[in-house]
Symmetry: C2
Subunit: 206 residues, 2 copies
Amino acid sequence: MTEFIESIDPKREAIVQAATRLFLNNNYRSVSMDKIAQAAPVSKATLYNHFDSKNALLAAVVGELCGALLQTLTQTLSTTDNVAQNLKKIAEVFVELLYSPDGLAMYRLVIAESHEFPELGQMVYDNGAKIAVAQLESYLQPLNDVGILSIANVRFAADAFFSLLKGELHFRCLLSVQPPPNEQEKTQLIESATALFLQGIGYATN
Amino acid sequence: MTEFIESIDPKREAIVQAATRLFLNNNYRSVSMDKIAQAAPVSKATLYNHFDSKNALLAAVVGELCGALLQTLTQTLSTTDNVAQNLKKIAEVFVELLYSPDGLAMYRLVIAESHEFPELGQMVYDNGAKIAVAQLESYLQPLNDVGILSIANVRFAADAFFSLLKGELHFRCLLSVQPPPNEQEKTQLIESATALFLQGIGYATN
DNA sequence: GTCTATAGATCGATAGAC
DNA sequence: GTCTATCGATCTATAGAC
């Protein structure tokens, strides 16, 4: 059995952290390598010793963000048999991620750059939405088989649940038209979305 | 009665058109004023004679795009009394806009820049999603009052319908993870979303 | 590996002739 | 209004000392 020892390079870590903060808080294009080096703080030569290019640094940043994202999404859930309760638990994790300042910033960052840098989009999708939808799908499928739910297309239904949670509110937040929702607004969103979804897939709440 | 005569400046028109094409096809930051002037084609001094800055040019571009957007969204609809049919008509217009190459590109452009340029987000929201949701809301409200529908929150329901149409598919397209849907896929999306929505708001299809 | 210093290109914006 | 030419700043990336 081989043992993997992650050697942690403190300079590299500092660079990635500084770059992450700058990329999320500002536009990728408006952040220069000088600013990143200054914020780390390291010299620019050191920066280029660890990362071949600015694009490579962005890939590393998004990669590490995806790691954290994946860890949050795959945390265990669903301990009760109550479908509505379990859906709300899933919703809470998702909504917390989606409307967090970093979550919104990552969304903006990746959407802006994925057109000229497709690997980014693939990475975020595979470690985010894809996992979430697959999890919900594998939760709904057996319930549908047994007849507790009556869903025509389970895959579409799983998509739909997250879409309802995203909603136009998420769009407004991305456009900086309104600030992220507070706890009360998030709870209300989850309630409304869950209710419409459950009725939409033929589950009678009571 | 005063008559307004729009004097059309061909140079200005050429600049806006060239800038629109470049901004939509590439990242705003990676498009230089030199490239825009070259594509128009005009000299850079002429460009700055018509627009004070690159940001002002972006505002003009997005403003004109919003004009076209608004015109498409406010086109008359709903001639039949069939709720499902009317929803599908609304959905068709919305989906066509949302997944068109220019629609996706505009989405990317505005999301990327609205954080450092909030007027952009406000403009697009006021002339796009806001109008669409308001229209659907004013269509659903009387039906709900009469009891044909049983919606707890009409505003949320209107939001929800467009969210279902957007769905994770839109996210994947934005991330360049998959190409925009073809006609068949769009029709299927509209069918699935409408069905789930109608059942979710308590409308019995038959 | 890490630093200082700088190359070489390109950026947004402007001056001055016509 | 439109052009050519260019300014000063800033960008990504690298060279060379230690």
